[in-house]
């Protein structure tokens, strides 16, 4: 386990592996449009210098230092590495193959720790890097509830799958983790237990046996138990406390939440449910981050006043459920205009992380200012998740940097170079190997397996 910002450790890990990408070198990317996602905004033409895993210079007047490897961007765009705001990347390889799924809480509730299942060999990590993603927040799901996976055969095909839940599954999805996507990193977990997940709304009601009132009472009761447990550990160990609704490990995980040190990641959609989430935070004195928030625009002022950030999928515009009747394409724009810190996600699914940047483009088409859109993929995500030192092109920050062929929110562009902690990442991925095997007809008479 390492802190996100101890770059030397990351460098060490990278250099230590012979097969890993080249160690951090001094690199200057010149003749680039710099989208800093910071106070400097967008710099139409300039350069950025990466050294010892950090950004050491960025701006219009910057030139390449002696000895630096110089990359001429030829007018391409440099952005901070994108940060997946909520994903199952690295804990899910094939949705329909149960054995490759490690994002469900299983027998636990708040105590589930997704970080233990992070798979650095997931073929989806290199694919995500090819979407410009350099870090991600791996978020858990409650095994009994949750939305399940989108299926091509119709919504009900996986119905009745469920399974594996404990008799008393509780309400909490477990604890999230921040990962790095650096190639060759055998321990990609930057920080574990960064939040505890919770579904409210329809999923929360379902988890509680059928209604919202039950869900919120259970959640508040769990907080009360966690506080009582924290005050009386010794008595608990002697068996001298009243009975608690959750197991010891689940209560342990809630202590930093009720103490306001670790946020709750609340998946919630409807305006009235969002208000209940705000009230819960206020009354229980817990920090919250919202995910989904399709009707967030209806309570944007309240969210801004409470300083509660949101993670949205800006494609959501259908009344897909009774809790999402007010979904709008300009949700992100309205939230941002009201002063809410907004992050934009693609699909939660590992295999659609590329969608995040196009979703930001879609939000721009629906009113989000262009510079704000870049922040929804980078600096805002870092801010929401308490990741210091990443998410913008600022001197002293970790050199997570992506060079794009053009506007990174456009469908027609791709990353030409991805740096994580100053180390240029390989371009290869399983998908690219498949592509290259079949892109041109074989001329040898041998099957593609020989290529």
């Amino acid at each position: 386990m390492k802190s996100p910002l101890i770059a030397p450790l990351a460098l060490l890990a990278a250099t230590w592996l012979a097969a890993a990408p080249a160690a951090a070198e001094t690199v200057a990317i010149v003749n680039a449009r710099l989208e800093t996602a910071a106070a400097a905004g967008t710099i139409p033409s300039g350069a950025i210098v990466l050294k010892d895993g950090k950004i050491i210079a960025v701006g219009a007047g910057v030139t390449a230092p002696a000895g630096a490897r110089v990359i001429d961007a030829r007018g391409g765009v440099v952005t901070p590495g994108l940060i997946a705001a909520s994903t199952n990347l690295s804990v899910s390889e094939v949705s329909a193959v149960r054995e490759t799924q490690d994002d469900g809480s299983g027998r636990l509730t708040a105590g589930f720790d997704v970080s233990y299942g992070v798979n650095p060999d997931s073929t989806m990590i290199p694919l995500a890097r090819q979407s410009g993603v350099t870090r991600g927040v791996v978020t858990p799901e409650l095994t009994r509830g949750g939305a399940g996976h989108k299926d091509d055969s119709g919504a009900d095909d996986f119905a009745g799958g469920g399974g594996g839940a404990a008799a008393e599954p509780g309400m909490f999805a477990g604890q999230a983790a921040i990962i790095s996507l650096a190639a060759g990193d055998t321990d990609p977990v930057e920080k574990a237990r960064v939040a505890v997940g919770l579904d409210l709304g329809e999923a929360g009601a379902r988890n509680a046996g059928g209604s919202r009132g039950a869900a919120l009472v259970l959640v508040r009761a769990a907080f009360e138990d966690a506080r009582a447990f924290a005050r009386n550990r010794a008595a608990y160990d002697r068996g001298a406390t009243r009975e608690f609704g959750l197991s010891r490990v689940d209560l342990e995980a809630l202590i930093p939440v009720v103490e306001g040190r670790t946020p709750l990641l609340i998946r919630v959609h409807k305006a009235s449910d969002i208000r209940q989430a705000l009230r819960l935070a206020r009354e229980e004195k817990v920090k919250i981050i919202l995910e989904g928030a399709e009707e967030g625009w209806r309570v944007a002022g309240e969210l801004a006043a409470a300083g509660v950030p949101v993670i949205v999928d800006s494609q959501a515009d259908l009344p897909s459920a009774f809790e999402a009747l007010g979904s709008r394409l300009d949700n992100a724009a309205r939230l941002q205009a009201a002063g809410v810190t907004v992050a934009i996600m693609g699909a939660r699914d590992f295999n659609n992380l590329r969608q995040a940047r196009f979703n930001a483009g879609l939000a721009v088409a629906n009113g989000l200012p262009r510079e704000a859109a870049m922040a929804t993929l980078t600096s805002n995500v870092a801010k929401i998740w308490g990741m210091t030192g990443v998410g913008s092109l600022v001197v002293g920050q970790t050199a997570d940097v992506v060079l794009w062929t053009g506007d990174p929110l456009e469908t027609s562009t791709w990353p030409v170079a991805v740096f994580i902690g100053g180390v240029e990442q390989p371009q290869s991925s399983r998908a690219f190997e498949l592509r290259d095997r079949y892109a041109t007809p074989s001329t040898t008479g041998y099957p593609p397996a020989y290529r």
Binding site: D156, A324, L325, G361, A365, T411, R435
Partner: protein, 484 residues
């Protein structure tokens, strides 16, 4: 696209259209063979009323219109700068450069800075059958009670008030093929609809469009039925199931042929008992119903092609086709279209080899390429889905242009659905299904500004009078939510 493929597709489409046209129309039900009508109601004879739920679609009111000054993608390979598109009485009158003559009396739309394409066609949609909101009482897309449900028709599950139709229209979608789900080997008949608001399903039905038959390869049928301890439980069980059904269909068709031959000779004969499922399969064997085959893997597509040859039918299109890039030349040779997403992959083993360049590679191998949605969100931005697929090809130097790729969401799906004689490209005489985009439609920032179906303005992003709402959305917090 090879010329051979074009010819093959055109021939099939024409045959299918003729077959369908010959039997459609509210007043033109083909008379049953002599002797049959006297003895049984029409519903007992598959030939008596092959179109028992006829289209009542009528084009909405329109004005003769000319759009000038726009960049026009015709979907026939042309990109016209400063172009002109003229339509009147529901049909395209002229498409050309700035010199194109605009007749008197036209409503003129200034298209400067805009792009014009044919109406987008989504060849794989579950709108109406899996509507929003997604509640179990409206989950009508998969008749998961038997692996062979060729007897069900998707049109009988369509809820026309699905707000998804309105969202899709705001994304430029003018025609959709609504399919049953893929739980079954034979999922039932698909139906092609015009994307216009309608109180009834019949009011949306595309007049004269052939029916499709949804078939499904792979993991879904064997998971659904294997999980119930029934066949198919394996891939080989799937194939045995397809073959048995075609054998049954051939026997059924022969019984009706024998019966009709006897009646024609004046002999007495008892009509066979009508079987709705086998009717549909026989429709495929006769070339009247087009096979729309959900199939991901290259090897499974190759098996399905052999089954089609074994029983004498044609596969119109493979849907999803995540591994089309492995068999592009085979698809081209067989004249079978494939429809896929840009890169949705990895959600099950049969999509694990999906790649972003799938469409582009198979396209360059000559296969008829379609980008579909299978999704109520993606359908709203098929232009961008095609753009992502095009960019993936261009990243490896395939040099695919917008003038080519626009056909992936217009003319090619029209071909695979047997309606390319009527729509799918901007060609004089075709239905005036037209979209005016705010920018290059392959840009993430592009929005459909005006959408015309049969020359009628059905959506206008700037004019609330042309922003229809579903009954369901009235009085709800999201009313009109997709408008600025």
């Amino acid at each position: 696209m090879t010329s051979r493929l074009k010819a093959a597709l055109a021939a099939t489409a024409t045959a299918a259209l003729l077959a369908a046209c010959a039997t459609t129309g509210a007043t033109a039900a083909k008379p049953a063979p002599a002797g049959a009508t006297k003895t049984m109601p029409a519903g007992l004879d598959p030939a008596a009323r092959p179109d028992p739920f006829p289209s009542t679609y009528a084009a909405l009111p329109s004005r003769p219109t000319a759009i000038r000054g726009a960049t026009v993608l015709t979907a026939t390979g042309q990109q016209i700068e400063n172009g002109v598109v003229v339509f009147a009485e529901g049909k395209i009158v002229a498409v050309g450069g700035p010199e194109t003559v605009i007749p008197e009396g036209m409503t003129i739309i200034d298209g400067r800075g805009k792009w014009i394409t044919p109406g987008v066609i989504d060849a794989h949609s579950h709108l109406g059958v899996y509507p929003s909101p997604g509640v179990s009482s409206r989950s009508d897309g998969n008749e998961m009670t038997d692996p062979v449900t060729a007897n069900v028709w998707a049109e009988h599950s369509i809820w026309p008030q699905d707000p998804g139709f309105n969202r899709a229209r705001a994304g430029g979608v003018t025609t959709l093929q609504i399919l049953p789900g893929s739980a079954n080997l034979f999922g039932g008949r698909s139906v092609t609809v015009r994307n216009v608001p309608s109180v009834t399903m019949q009011g949306m039905k595309f007049p004269g469009a052939p029916y499709g038959l949804k078939m499904a390869c792979g993991e879904n049928p064997k998971r659904v039925y294997g999980g119930k301890g029934r066949s198919p439980a394996t891939a080989m069980g799937n194939v045995a199931g397809y073959r048995k059904a075609w054998i049954d269909a051939a026997e059924y068709g022969r019984k009706w042929d024998d019966y009709r031959a006897k009646i024609a000779k004046g002999d007495k004969a008892d009509p066979p008992k009508r079987d709705l499922g086998l009717d549909t399969l026989v429709g495929v064997l006769k070339g009247e119903i087009l096979v729309q085959n959900h199939c991901y893997r290259a090897d499974e597509m190759a098996v399905m092609i052999d089954i089609a040859k074994e029983f004498g039918y044609r596969i119109s299109m493979f849907h999803h086709a995540s591994e089309a890039y492995k068999i592009g030349p085979l698809l081209a040779k067989e004249g079978i279209c494939f429809a896929t997403w840009a890169d949705w992959q990895g959600f099950k083993m049969e999509s694990y080899d999906g790649i972003e360049a799938n469409a582009a590679i198979a396209y360059r191998a000559g296969a008829c390429t379609v980008i579909h949605s299978d999704d109520e969100t993606i359908t709203q931005r098929l232009n961008q889905e095609a753009a992502i697929a095009m960019a993936a090809g261009n990243r490896i130097g395939l040099a695919i242009t917008p003038a080519e790729a626009i056909a992936w969401i217009t003319l090619n799906p029209a071909r695979a659905m047997g309606i390319d004689g009527q729509t799918g490209s901007l060609v004089a005489g075709k239905r005036a299904d037209v979209v005016i985009w705010s920018a290059d439609p392959f840009s993430v920032y592009a929005q459909a500004e005006k959408v015309f179906v049969d020359g009628a303005l059905v959506y206008d992003r700037r004019d609330p009078r042309y922003q229809p709402k579903s009954d369901f959305e009235l009085g709800q917090p999201g009313e009109g939510a997709f408008h600025p």
